[in-house]
């Protein structure tokens, strides 16, 4: 309980950027490692995948990785966010407006 009380309210834009930016970096690293080991042209033989060139495959792969890492970061922030009732009389963890 103490931990939640100590948790600071982090403004929404800052949370959005923290989620998107760090997951962007991690997606970049994942893309590099993944495609260094696996040629998308060979991957195409195993799975039914639309006909695309390597550049497109790398880009789509990166965006998919980003989606994945961003989802992970997003759920982490949601779990860390204090779950105080919205209509509590003294909701001091949010700034008064």
């Amino acid at each position: 309980m103490k931990l939640i009380e100590a948790g600071r309210y982090v403004p929404v834009p800052q949370r959005v950027i923290a989620v998107l930016w760090i997951s962007f970096l991690m997606a970049g690293a994942a893309t590099m490692v993944f495609f260094a080991a696996i040629d998308p042209m060979q991957l195409k033989n195993c799975v039914d995948f639309p006909e695309v060139g390597r550049t497109a495959a790398y880009s789509i792969g990166f965006l998919l990785f980003w989606l994945l890492t961003a989802a992970s970061s997003l759920f982490t922030t949601l779990l860390l966010y204090p779950g105080a009732p919205a209509n509590a009389p003294d909701n001091s963890s949010r700034p008064s407006r």
Binding site: R8, A37, R54
Partner: protein, 463 residues
């Protein structure tokens, strides 16, 4: 992280972030400004110039992702060389540890792309909007035709520079001459267009709008760099013993006689700070180590006739009057690890043989007997010439006496970067076999360079 939260603290964070005050860093001149500008010009010169550099008839640095090859001057790297990239990243990380332990956030102050591009965007802003006071006045004034013109031309300049940056970024992955031609003829591929716009827009947003907020709210390094600090790290510090009590005074006043410290409270150090902090409050995570406050303060000290260095690179130990040595175990450990990683990288690079050989035994038939009574096995060779010139090779087989090697074609040759599949037959006298399965080693050697040798083990099967 467990610091008690107060509503006041939240409001500070809120105002700094969502409703932040725009920071107008004042221009500085001095030793560290010269260092920073040199770093900016060098790094940007490399970034924008490198794609245009040619080497042996091809682009000197090209990450040819569609062909899965990296060209770095005379070197061609393949996905098989991934370990080099991993080693390079380890070197970069250890280098960051080493320099952070030595002198704080050198990376942030002089080399980080965020710093470098923000600096250039500030120059453009300064050129069009004037100095700090003129910029503040312009922003406060109501919208007029003049204000609109200045703002519009600033954003047009920023956007043009960002687009050029995005173009340069894509030119590391697509040959630059070809890219330029297709850009002019409006024939860019969808993904090239996407990355050009993406990178250009990121530059415009980060260097034009976000600026210090990237360092404050987005940068993970800003948060964990303190782990590499200790009391002997050179950091930018305000010498409070010398400076306090601060106070304004006439030029040439003797501080001691006036009962004051050397800080004249002119707030120049705050005005020049790109993250808008007051270094006199001590080391803060917002400080990116750009040393602009050192330059500004030294300038003021000079005008007042005081000694420079009221704000300077120094260690916490030195400020507290404790014995302090910059050369300490932590630095040797980081330095040792860094040297080891660099040595390993160099070794991998030098020992790298740009030739690959793989052998596959024919799956359909284990062996057959020839008309001459010899035992024959059939294989397929996979040869990759990873060098950047053509080679002819000799193939030898060891392990069984009198082993005969035959390939189709008999002469094995491969162009630069060529992958070849070559059928091979091995024949041996059945009497010389030691059993049903015999170990055979194949050696492929370039005729013009015996160091280019690849070897592979396989099995020769008999009755």
């Amino acid at each position: 992280m467990l610091a008690p939260a107060t509503p006041a603290g939240d409001e500070v964070q809120q105002s700094l972030y969502a409703k932040r005050q725009k920071i107008y860093p004042r221009e500085v001149h001095g030793l560290f400004a010269v260092l920073r500008i040199s770093a900016v010009l060098t790094l940007l010169g490399i970034f924008y110039g490198l794609p245009w550099l040619r080497w042996n008839g091809h682009q000197a640095v090209l990450f040819d992702l569609p062909a899965r090859k990296f060209h770095l001057f005379g070197l061609t790297l393949w996905p098989q060389d991934f370990i080099l990239l991993a080693a390079l990243l380890i070197i970069a990380a250890l280098g960051l540890f080493f320099f952070t332990a030595l002198a704080g956030r050198l990376w942030c102050g002089y080399a980080c792309p965020q710093t470098v591009w923000t600096e250039v965007f500030l120059w453009m802003e300064h050129a069009l909007e004037g100095d700090r006071l003129q910029q503040m006045k312009l922003d406060k004034s109501p919208m007029t035709w003049r204000k609109f013109r200045i703002k519009a031309s600033k954003h047009a300049l920023w956007l043009a520079f960002s687009a050029f940056t995005g173009f340069t970024f894509v030119a590391y992955f697509t040959p630059v001459a070809d890219l330029l031609h297709r850009l002019v003829t409006l024939d860019l591929g969808p993904w090239e267009t996407f990355w050009l716009v993406f990178y250009g827009f990121a530059t415009y947003g980060n260097a034009g709008w976000m600026r210090e907020q990237v360092c404050l709210y987005m940068c993970p390094y800003a948060r964990f760099q303190s782990a590499m600090f200790d009391d002997s790290t050179l950091i930018i510090s305000y010498d409070d013993k010398r400076g306090e009590p601060r106070g304004s005074r006439k030029r040439g006043t003797d501080s001691l006689r006036a009962g004051l410290g050397d800080c004249i409270d002119c707030s120049m150090c705050v005005q020049v700070c790109p993250t808008g902090i007051d270094i006199r409050k001590g080391l803060q995570y917002e400080c990116i180590g750009c040393a602009a406050c050192i330059d500004a303060c030294n300038d003021v000290m000079d005008k007042m006739g005081y000694a420079p260095g009221l704000i300077r690179y120094t260690t916490h130990n030195a400020l507290r009057g404790r014995p302090s040595s910059i050369l300490r175990p932590r630095l040797f450990v980081y330095g040792g690890l860094l040297s080891a990683a660099i040595a390993a990288f160099a070794w991998i690079l030098l020992a790298r043989v740009p030739l690959e050989l793989e052998v596959m035994h024919d799956r359909n038939r284990l062996y057959r007997e020839t008309d001459a009574g010899l035992i024959e096995n059939v294989y397929t060779l996979d040869i990759v010439n990873m060098d950047d010139r053509r080679h002819a090779y000799t193939l030898r087989a060891e392990g069984i006496e009198g082993l005969i090697v035959e390939t189709d074609p008999p002469e094995i040759e491969a162009d630069a970067g060529e992958m070849k599949k070559i059928p091979m037959r091995l024949r041996a006298d059945g009497a010389r076999l030691s059993g049903r399965s015999n170990k055979v080693r194949l050696l492929l050697t370039a005729r013009d360079d015996p160091r280019l040798t690849a070897s592979e083990e396989t099995r020769f099967l008999g009755p």
